[in-house]
Symmetry: C2
Amino acid sequence: MAEPNPQSVGIVEPQTLHVAETMPLDCGKTIERFDLVYETYGTLNADRSNAVLVCHALSGNHHAAGYHNEDDEKPGWWDKCIGPGKMIDTDHFFVVSPANLGGYNGSTGPGSLHPETGRHYGPDFPVLTCSDWVRSQNILREALGIEQWAAVIGGSLGGMQVMQWSIDYPDRIAHAIVIAAAPKLSAQNIAFNEIARQAIITDPEFHDGRYYEHGVVPRRGLMLARMLGHITYLSDDAMRAKFGRDLREGRINYGFDVEFQVESYLRYQGASFVDRFDANTYLLMTKALDYFDPAHETGGSLARAFAPATARFMVVSFTSDWRFAPERSREIVDALVDAGKQVSYAEVTSDLGHDDFLLTMPHYVHTLRAYLHRVACERDT
Amino acid sequence: MAEPNPQSVGIVEPQTLHVAETMPLDCGKTIERFDLVYETYGTLNADRSNAVLVCHALSGNHHAAGYHNEDDEKPGWWDKCIGPGKMIDTDHFFVVSPANLGGYNGSTGPGSLHPETGRHYGPDFPVLTCSDWVRSQNILREALGIEQWAAVIGGSLGGMQVMQWSIDYPDRIAHAIVIAAAPKLSAQNIAFNEIARQAIITDPEFHDGRYYEHGVVPRRGLMLARMLGHITYLSDDAMRAKFGRDLREGRINYGFDVEFQVESYLRYQGASFVDRFDANTYLLMTKALDYFDPAHETGGSLARAFAPATARFMVVSFTSDWRFAPERSREIVDALVDAGKQVSYAEVTSDLGHDDFLLTMPHYVHTLRAYLHRVACERDT
């Protein structure tokens, strides 16, 4: 951890909610007795009206901001945007950041021990949807004694959970902030996910998802999945600017070791991911992405899917994002307008691609900070 | 094989040129004694002036048109465009279609037996470049007694070989027809190739490229590589039109078997590729793609790279191609114009993506047929 930083939430400690109730799931199964791990930043005000829920994306977890100890080198995944004076300002808001059910190193997931069998869930862990996550986050809301979130905010898969919140629990969410998301995956998006899953599932060390019991992990598959993800997170232009065709050793070697810088980058990203992520969780997360399609229930009409919503919406997209391009965000905005909802929209000019939502381009930060400032003011009155 | 078709070249037989000479390669090694397998369609005219060389792409081979026997169900890979009265009209041209060195089931490649050791080349097969292929195709040209190709034509990686021909053997090529190509790969293109290679190389059945001797093939890796390729061959719109979010069984199963039609398509494409392609060849082909960059020799100036060329150029791109988008073809055209070369350019409105070059959209066929008709007329006089 660097020098004390007035813009950091500092040292944070994860907390755990032990859920004793049985929760139904969209797949038809139930889950009994599970843990939700979460972190909070900032202070809950007296009338409990300043709570903001952060929903994470595919590889996220509960550790969104701050450090876990003095020696921690890296802060939480959205630390650039959460803290005193930052975009999500912890001087004003009580930020709640749970780890999704099915995740890794946090809430109960495939790598956890089943309370009855004592074995790892592995492939027995139920397949989840955004609705399931929102249902579990609502249990957390109740446990924290929060009547209504001032805002629910998330990027990418997190943005999908935000939309689901607005539909499933309209009374519990005042503002829905949907960043770099889409109303559903395209066939191409699903295709990328499917290749990532096949890479994992066909890895001989996957052992039908029971690799924990074999003392191995499907490293190769998970590495490939992550490398593939990185292609979709970065724009073609960003890759060109970052790596171009630069050769790592300045010359062609005519071999299969790393030659171009971009290869080196991808291999590093893939290899380091294996040490901090679980393959079964990756499968679950990509499935939840594939399934998300609120308009499926309403005959294909996204506007009708949003009919129950009472939240005010803020939608943000990034011009260089080709995974969930601005067109996809405009589909969300158009549906909200058609449904007669209040919606603001910002299309942020950006360079890097999908991952821009984690960063701090001035237009992005100023727009969302201003929006959230108005949210804070209205909650104070 | 269907009913006799006056537009088909009919039954064709591959021929083999045994090359006894030692050929130097860009990697610094040499290759001694190798076979070039090729097919020809149409008739060489008396003054040997009507020969057209077809260069194939990543997964192509010598079998570009016609059938190998009466029971053959599928014709050659470019049969839609080569034949009597077709785009490349065998009533006018003598079409020569070689399999690239390093390929599979054709010219000498990693799956061939080394003439000295009697073992499969495997990983000992040298890494090749477009220049190497062109050098070997020039040996074939000499063997066939052809002074100058009326045209050299190819799509994708084939188009790169066409450009290389125009630079390396300017006197031997009258017309260069470059289809759906790029002057070099982008970082994103290289990234896709690298993931495909890593999928193959990390497959435990790859055995450092010596899988032939283990009686296995790296099926999983090659399958993943092909699935990934298909994402880049099809446009997002084409995938949407072809598959959308259609569920194979009409409902969500909440599992990891095929659920969406696009998953079924990709798995089929991946699995069927394994039976007809060699993993080491896939590695070599992607490396040749990565390396192609004629401007590298001329300080980054593509125009200067084209300085030696005397051919007249025809460049074709497809609007829905995102692997090698029209912008990339326009870079080629701009460089040729800067270099003072004769160049025509057609941007074909298309839907499917990169693979459109294999098909027969009217604008595409009419444009190229008309161009080639002029080529035929000028060669007759």
